[in-house]
Amino acid sequence: MRRATQAIRFALAAGLAALGALPVQAATLFMGAYPDVLLVFDESKGAVTQKIKLDTGLPTSMTLSDDGKRIYVSTITTSGIEVIDAASRKVISKFSLNDGSNRVRFWGGVPDPAGRYFYTVISKIDKEIDRKVSKPLYGVIDLKLGKLVRTADIEKDDEKAIGGYRVAFKVSSDGKYLYAFGEKVIIIDTATLKAIDRIDLAKPEGTGLENVGFGGALETLRTPGQYVSVFNAADPYIHNKMFGVARFDLNSRQFDFTPIGPAPAAMAGLEVTPDGKQAYTVVTNGTLGAKRCEFWHMDLPTNAVVDKAEFPCRSRFRFGMSMDGRKLYIYGASFDIEVYDAKTLKLEATWDLGNDATGAGMVAVP
């Protein structure tokens, strides 16, 4: 009898602990997964509830529209784009850019506010006598016609900064400016595809091989027209690298940057709570077996680091946050999500996805 009571107590305790890991205002998470699906994960149940098949192949990047209604997924197998209706979780359009011996390679991108054009950086691969690979080009994809409609050369000095894969993009809410966040910030006129401004702020190095850039993992942005994240800047004299928080007004092209401290070896973007006051990042120092990872909790009104906690990190991972800002997620290169409490920075639970996730990142919708 006593053993039975104890067993019930343990079961209750385990159940309560599992419930404690579930966010209060649960959302639906979308994640890219192998070999060609999008996982739909219910935060309230802590389980995958649906798999959306992607006919164009393996997802490598996802972008949520500013109104939160559509998810734009880019796929690598056939260089495709699939548009998902976030509410019905159905694919509403899909197409591939590969055409026989002519192929296009791109990694992520961003739709314009009207949802008609998709801006990205592409490479063209044409099979002639030999295979011909173009330099990186600005590319505009017509989502209605399902084809590449405009390309333009990237200026030579900008190629290194944004020519690689997984550069993050944003478009101003009036659709006039395209922002590319790489080794510097480049602002491009969407009408002419010419760079009109350059800002010497660099996205910090990512936390692993797959996080060379942030194509699929641009932080969840809940205020259209604004972008807040961590950046590195170097002084012009001794090139001492500092990290800090930059706030961009995408329409007016104004920004401010507040340095916080010496730049660590790697940072995994910035996740901001819905009230815009608290922010979290993952800082990595050391490499290989000597690698150590820490959560850093920042207070945005004062731009101060208020708490840090080390956690056992994976070789490669991605960093995310629950919709209500109470949970921090470590996921990627694996079939599970490690759930940390945002207040205590302690591990609370591990959710099994039953499916390996790709580096496409995570999109959360209510």
């Binding site: 490598t60 690598i76 197998t77 290989l288 070789s315 499916n355």
Partner: protein, 126 residues
């Protein structure tokens, strides 16, 4: 041997090639770089100078046999099966693992979780 001298064109070319190789080895040893004659040679991981190790992905298709960017195993995913897909999709090295983009898009169609069911990966015959 030092008293031998080349007397025809072919012998002189061999002599020149050997001299150039010896000079390159001396220069490489002075700078710490890999001597040119060793660039395509098979060398041990412990050997100095260290071999070039392609970062992250396996050198042979043998899940579990893999080295990280430093030539060790401390920087690998745990377990290493977690690295398979990153090699398959992003590295494009058809020798080590099938190439997703060009030749074997269906290699992993029956294997959603590499750690648990990597035995379901398809067989690929060249």
């Amino acid at each position: 041997m030092k008293h031998l001298r080349a007397i025809n064109k072919k012998a002189r070319r061999i002599d020149d090639a050997v001299t150039q190789m010896e000079e390159a080895i001396e220069a490489a040893a002075a700078s710490g770089a890999t001597p040119p004659e060793m660039e395509e040679d098979v060398v041990a991981l412990q050997q100095a100078p260290r071999p070039h190790v392609p970062m992250g992905c396996t050198l042979s298709f043998s899940p579990g046999w893999e080295v990280d960017a430093g030539g060790g195993t401390a920087g690998l995913c745990q377990p290493v099966e977690r690295d398979i897909y990153d090699c398959y999709v992003t590295c494009f090295w058809p020798v080590q693992v099938p190439d997703h983009v060009n030749y074997s898009p269906d290699w992993a169609s029956n294997c959603a979780t590499a750690t648990k069911d990597w035995r379901n990966l398809d067989l690929v015959f060249p």
